[in-house]
């Protein structure tokens, strides 16, 4: 089975600064494959191994995708190859734009059986690219998938809803959005890192996105509540006494 794992790179949240005027400072933030897309790669690798197939990574984005470190990192986590669509005009797309470019990029990859996307991208967390992509491709589409088992020419998946778990047979091709609990991504070892250097990356150019779905009028850091920032340390009995006093003083204790 040929499995495509869709990956989004985003700036690392911990390293994003906020300025006094509530604008964001992204200068120090390294771009990384989203945490939940590591689950996507892992799921693609496992399915490819179970079916004697291949796992292909696919990412759409701006110039940040040119980073060889980022590419190697993605490849070292279990991809056989990586398809990168990187263009200044493709940075910061909304979900429908992204889905359109992914559809066009997928048209250039032969014999795709299954497209996997993550629980949500690490910056916008819209949880929509997979759903919209599935609709554009006109194939079987599910979100919230927590387990995927190959069964001959189809898959059996588990999809937890709020009050029940659905077990669903899915014919191929399909687009599945996964949960972040579906697996534990492997930590690449020295061998994986070395092997990653030899695996192919394919650049795709000439793709374009439709107009955005919204006009953005502002982007501002969330306003922070002032905090007292008192810290107590030391002997347990002592800190607990201070903690109880504090809880009493703020009316937090019963």
């Amino acid at each position: 089975m040929k499995v495509v794992a869709c990956l989004k790179a985003a700036p690392e949240a911990e390293d994003i600064g906020t300025r006094p005027d509530r604008t964001l400072d992204l200068d120090k933030a390294a771009w990384k494959i989203g945490t939940y897309d590591l689950n996507t790669i892992e799921a693609a690798r496992v399915l490819a191994d179970e079916t004697g197939g291949v796992a292909v990574g696919l990412s759409v984005g701006g110039p940040a995708l040119a980073s060889s470190k980022l590419r190697k990192d993605a490849l070292s986590r279990g991809l056989d190859e990586f398809v990168v669509v990187s263009d200044e005009a493709l940075a910061d797309l909304d979900t429908f734009q992204t889905a359109c470019v992914l559809r066009d990029a997928l048209a250039g990859i032969d014999g795709v059986d299954l497209v996997l996307v993550g629980a949500g991208s690490s910056d916008v967390y819209a949880q929509q690219v997979g759903n919209e992509l599935g609709a554009l491709l006109g194939v079987a589409t599910l979100n919230g998938v927590n387990k995927v088992t190959p069964a001959g020419d189809h898959l059996v998946v588990e999809r937890p809803l709020e009050d029940a778990v659905q077990v669903i047979e899915v014919g191929l091709p399909a687009v599945l959005s996964l949960t972040s609990g579906i697996n534990t991504p492997r930590i690449p070892g020295m061998r994986d890192v070395l092997a990653a250097g030899k695996r192919p990356t394919t650049e795709v150019s000439g793709l374009s996105a439709p107009a955005p779905s919204t006009d953005r009028t502002s982007l501002l850091a969330v306003e922070q509540v002032e905090r007292a920032h008192r810290v107590v340390d030391g002997d347990t009995a002592d800190v607990v006494a201070q903690l109880v006093d504090y809880l009493n003083s703020v009316g937090g204790a019963r």
């Binding site: 429908f96 709020e162 077990v167 779905s213 982007l219 905090r227 007292a228 937090g252």
Partner: protein, 304 residues
Amino acid sequence: MSLGNAWVVLPNPAAAAGLARGARGLADEVNAVVVGADAALPGADLTVAVPAPPVGALAEGYAASIAELLQARGAQIVLLGADVSSRLLAGLVAARLGTSALTVQGVAVEGDGLVVSRTAYAGLATTTERPAGSPAVLVVAPGVLPAQEEAGAGRVEHVDMAPAPEPLRVVEVRPKAGEPVNLAAATRVVGVGRGFADEADLRLARELAAALGAELACSRPLAEGLGWLPTERYVGVSGATIRPDLYLAVGVSGQVQHMVGVNQAKVIVAINKDKNAPVFGQADLGVVGDLYDVLPALTNALAR
């Protein structure tokens, strides 16, 4: 100000039933498409009742037909809930209408159009945006749209639709055991994180919560990865947003994705054994200590 119409779309009658009441604040006319409806949706003027999907099919399979209906009737705003099925239906319908499904934190009518706010960069920031086309497809969590009183005209129209012949078949539905959780209503919340080494150790947090009269919440990994607590209990950018009087974080590192769910709490107290844990930067009182020592002693002291 309000727009001409809003359409609420529900994959089943139980999904986001309050949406119609909220939609009244945005539009003069509130309509609904409800899969499996046998009555008018409270708050809607018109309920288009679509038959429940045949056994083995999903309500989401109606997406193409629903998109066609919305287009034919000139929908201006399309609203769906934030549950798993509604989210999928939202994306399937939006893409067919040539637009993004927007998960919004806030939505209002300004001038002749909509203004929505959304989170960005893992919850660090908020955007304000104007949807460019019509209709706008919005995913709305409970609480985002204040409910209005008006009952709606309550008309019902039955429309027959056949789900797309998709290669999908539901072969089993297992009920999920759940406990009712109402984090939003809690004035005190104890939030637990990966500092707990074992599921059984959560007993320490439950005892503390009982002594404080607090609800138990958690970080995402405890609910999604480890499955120690139900997903309704995790707070953060992808979980619940709460504003209790007291949030007591235990063994939580304090990453932004978690803290945006609680940063409007009146008082934040953190217990963490790492004095450099980011949670201390966002707490009123930080206790540097091992939760296995501090929690039993604290519960004891509070019980006295």
